[in-house]
Amino acid sequence: MTRILATCFGLGILLLLIAGCGSFDSDPSTDISPAALRSRFSPLEVPTIQTSQQPRINLGRELFYDRRLSTGENTSCNSCHLLNAYGVDGHSYSTGHDGKLGGRNAPTVYNASLNLAQFWDGRAKDLVEQAKGPILNPVEMGMPSSDEVVTRIKSIPSYASAFRQAFPDSSDAITFDHFAEAVATFEQGLLTPSRWDRYLDGDTSALNEQEKQGLKLFLKTGCASCHAGRGVGGNSYQKLGYPKSWPNQHDLGRYQVTSLDRDRMVFKVPTLRNIEKTGPYFHDGQVASLNEAIDLMAQYQCSEKLRSAEIDQIATFLKTLTGPVPERYIANVDSAAKDDTVAMPRNKSANGKGAAR
């Protein structure tokens, strides 16, 4: 009798154990042929710049580097998003015009045009809207108002013709909207195709065996559930720390934008392009190493505890997402210059606090 009861009890427990929803199969395909991968990823191509867009791009580049467009005339977009350093400054939090720290890690501006929205919490719907943010943010560039920005730009003689050329159909070319449009137009060209894109295009020799093993593990772990598409991320919002609760619950992410309970701890999934170059990681910039970031993501988003060798493998793959910085595109050559040589940003050596830290 006891044996029968024990057997029934055991069977019952077993049934209950297996009757749950179950884990999602995180390995929909280990087929890493370019054809198979293109159902989930897309290669990045740099579009040819139309001649008509060139003046606007040139203007946007000039504005991006211009430290005079901050209250202290000491901070530019490039101060926190250093274009020759993959669009980041390498600090957990960036320092603004008056020495105060920002509230979140400065995300890279490279490939930002692929994002579904801008900022970690997606509060700007596109690059144009985003460009209007930091310049007016008291702890970033600190300009008091959009009118003051326009006044400042108008006080710099060289901008008059640059704005006219960039916005030839406007009677009043220097406006705050045009400032943002020019910066955004320039940023749309900050694209960094890499060996990964060559692989997706069919060149299977673009990745070596170790990198392919890393790719398989990346897929098997479930990373590609969120880090997919052309940007290998940047195209969805996700709750940070899900299923396992994220340790730092101070910054509630998208909740601060929507005030909806469902958006607590929800952040934009960042792109993984150039990820090896864009640390420290996460919205709070509290994780310095890529390997630690992989370890945390596997634990907190994928419920996987990876071994050290596995983390190394995934990191090896992720490094194939690093593309060269487009030096010619970011070179801050005076628009009047006709020099074809690649020039480094003119204020590289005087990069405000960005380079000083």
Binding site: A19, C21, P243
Partner: protein, 152 residues
């Protein structure tokens, strides 16, 4: 013999105590903050009635903010397993939160779902015996996939 019954009785009492203690906390932690219906895949993409019916019946328990919990979801230890598995499932695919995806990601998720069904990986094999309603026939899978591909 009497001693065996005492041990068995003690074990049952202990399990019952566990169930009572964990029942409320488990249910509380499983409560989801529901998303507005407008944010759902079926509304955002205008899914046809058969697609709606299929995903409601076979997918929604794990992959939406509107689960219909079975009785064992409130009984330890299966409650914690259901909870953990559902969390994992939601992290990968949540039909109720389609507003969090770009069109590109929406397409990827739909084609993923199609592939999982086509390969008979979803619903999970061990979920089916206690959820016969979740079984999918070939026509349903084919219809879902055709619809998913038409979203491209």
């Amino acid at each position: 013999m009497r001693r065996t019954w005492l041990v068995l009785g003690g074990a049952v009492t202990l399990i019952a105590a566990f169930v009572l203690v964990l029942h409320s906390s488990s249910n509380a932690s499983m409560a989801q903050t529901r998303s507005p219906r407008l944010a759902s895949m079926e509304v955002m993409l205008g899914a046809d009635p058969q697609v709606k019916s299929t995903i409601h019946r076979a997918c929604y328990n794990c992959h939406s903010d509107q689960p219909q919990y079975p009785w064992y979801a409130s009984v330890w230890p299966s409650s914690s397993l259901v909870h953990n598995d559902r969390q994992t499932a939601l992290a990968r695919l949540n039909f109720s939160q389609w507003d969090r995806l770009t069109p590109e990601m929406s397409k990827i998720r739909l084609l993923d779902a199609c592939a999982m069904m086509t390969d008979n990986k979803m619903p999970l094999w061990y979920y089916r015996p206690l959820h016969p309603e979740a079984r999918l026939n070939a026509q349903e899978v084919q219809h879902f996939c055709a619809w998913a591909h038409s979203m491209e």
